[in-house]
């Protein structure tokens, strides 16, 4: 849009128009994304047992559209870090996170993942937010399934409120401080070009 030379008044109107369109697109994308979360359960410890309960028949995470665990980071958009991450595991977690495509979200499941829990010792990473950005923290040791579902709903609200774009031309932020905000796509020119 920047290379098109237009009068300021006209540009404002078009920006307004585009803003409206973008908002609608963003809302639609957000709605679609929040109900089709593909989870990557990075299950390491005790919380994994509660994750099993959440996924099984009684609590049934499928009701919230996060049914199918994908054990490949490339096919997942929600990284659930379930359980203690120690310093030996941390580089692996980081690599799994980096392999996931944007947009991606991270849920820290249980206190060990959130802050190290009561394992304040030589072996354990004191919270995964020291190595990757986290969207929702679920406390509990381990959290009850209801709590996990609550955390999932919180994440869905967060996703719905985020700005989603079909195309994002903003310069790549090296820190990736806010996952999910920048949806980047490389490849063929995007649809939006057709509008003007």
């Amino acid at each position: 849009m920047a290379d098109v030379d237009v009068a300021p008044v006209l540009a404002t109107r078009r920006e307004e128009a585009m803003g409206f369109l973008e908002k609608m697109v963003s809302k639609g994308l957000g709605w679609a994304r929040k109900y089709s979360l593909f989870t990557y359960p990075f299950a390491t410890a005790c919380c994994g047992m509660e994750y099993m309960s959440v996924a099984a028949a009684r609590y049934d995470i499928a009701r919230f559209g996060a049914e199918f665990p994908r054990f490949s980071p490339r096919q997942a958009d929600l990284l659930m870090v379930v359980g203690t991450i120690n310093l030996k595991q941390a580089p692996i977690l980081k690599r799994v996170y980096e392999q996931m495509c944007e947009p991606k979200w991270v849920v820290s499941f249980g206190v060990c993942a959130s802050s190290g829990g009561f394992y304040d010792n030589y072996a354990v990473l004191q919270g995964i937010d020291r190595i990757l950005p986290v969207d929702v923290y679920i406390p509990g040791c381990p959290p009850r399934p209801e709590q996990v579902l609550d955390g999932l709903i919180l994440l869905q609200e967060k996703i719905a409120g985020q700005r989603h774009k079909l195309v994002d031309r903003s310069p790549e932020s090296p820190s990736q401080a806010q996952p999910g905000r920048n949806y980047k796509r490389t490849g063929p020119p995007p649809l939006e070009e057709g509008f003007h």
Binding site: F42, A43, T44, A45, C46, G48, M49, E50, M52, S53, A56, A57, R58, F71, G83, T84, N86, K88, Q89, I92, V96, F118, Y119, N121, Y122, A123, V124, C141, P142, R144
Partner: protein, 403 residues
Amino acid sequence: MENAPDIEGELEAHLQSKNLVINMGPSHPAMHGTVRMKIELEGETIVRADPEIGFLHRGFQKSCENVTWAQCLPYTDRLNYVSALMNNFGYLSAVEALIGLEIPERAKFIRVIGSELHRMNDHLTCVGAVGLELGGFSAFLYAIEARELITDRVNELTGARLTTSFGRVGGLNRDLPPGWIDKVLKTLDKVAELRAEVEGLLTRNRIFVDRMRGTGLITTPDALDYGFTGPCLRACGVNYDIRKQHPYWVYDQLDFEVPVGQNGDNFDRYLVRVEELKQCDRIIRQAIAKLPAGPVIIDDWRIALPPKQDVYNTIEGVMSHFKLIMEGVQVPAGEVYHCTEAANGELGWYLVSSGAGHPYKVHVRAPGFPILAGVPRMIEGKMLADLVPTFDTINMIGGEVEQ
């Protein structure tokens, strides 16, 4: 197609091939959390396997050495998190052996009931997971539903679904909740139904049997040499169960059998676990029938917390409460090795006390540790696909193996 014979010759010719090294885990659905297997393959045959563990090492021993004896209890929950009660009670028994303490009869019975409930929990999880990973998702759902019922009962008893921290040195911190016994009996009926359902889905299922029978074999001398205990050893035909050999608590008053396998393969390990589920059912029913009345914790304020009434109203109660909380139980200096039969085998504790309120050394002999060490022996020379059921039936739990 003029050179057809030549092409055929080429097809039959020996191909230049080299061994392929692949990496399973540490984040792999079949690796139960956090084991990394470096596997050298020739075709689909495993030439060499090298398990690398430690991705869930949480400094159990060091943490325990820095807190009081009672505060170690939550750390023990998280060793084998599928059957936390057995870890709690095993640890407490070891501490009691170190003090030289006899706990009340009722507490012993409740410990048996709790342990057996969690043994069922552990076996159900294992059996369900075997079904899941061999492609039978419905067996998993039935097993998990049965597990949920047990978890509910444990929840009512201890206040936590998974990490129970139940029991105190000298007995238990609370008695059974009212009406709990009836609920347990109903739960047992329902669990038996679900167990039959799981069994019906798996035990005579052709695909399941073909994947399980004859895979993951280990000979008896090897199993002993590596230090296998529990269902994995019994599947090899060794009748060895600490509940029978060195009866602790009240196991000598209860009538139960120890199922023993024959071949030491995956299918026998599975069968032993299913059979043990039935025996657990028997033990719990007997223990409930024999459950005596009486206190659940010893009446010694140097070891057990005084009742709240006394803490609020007497100076002695306040003092002993304060000292127990701030300084911990004063365990005399010395050492002890004590073991109980956990779901996966011998759970041993070697404790050293320096006479202070906190442990000097807490060694835990996790049953899964030697069994995992024996996995390369079980799968080397076998197909890669055999690794998955083998890994399932040994029921390796990251928390206890990697401490």
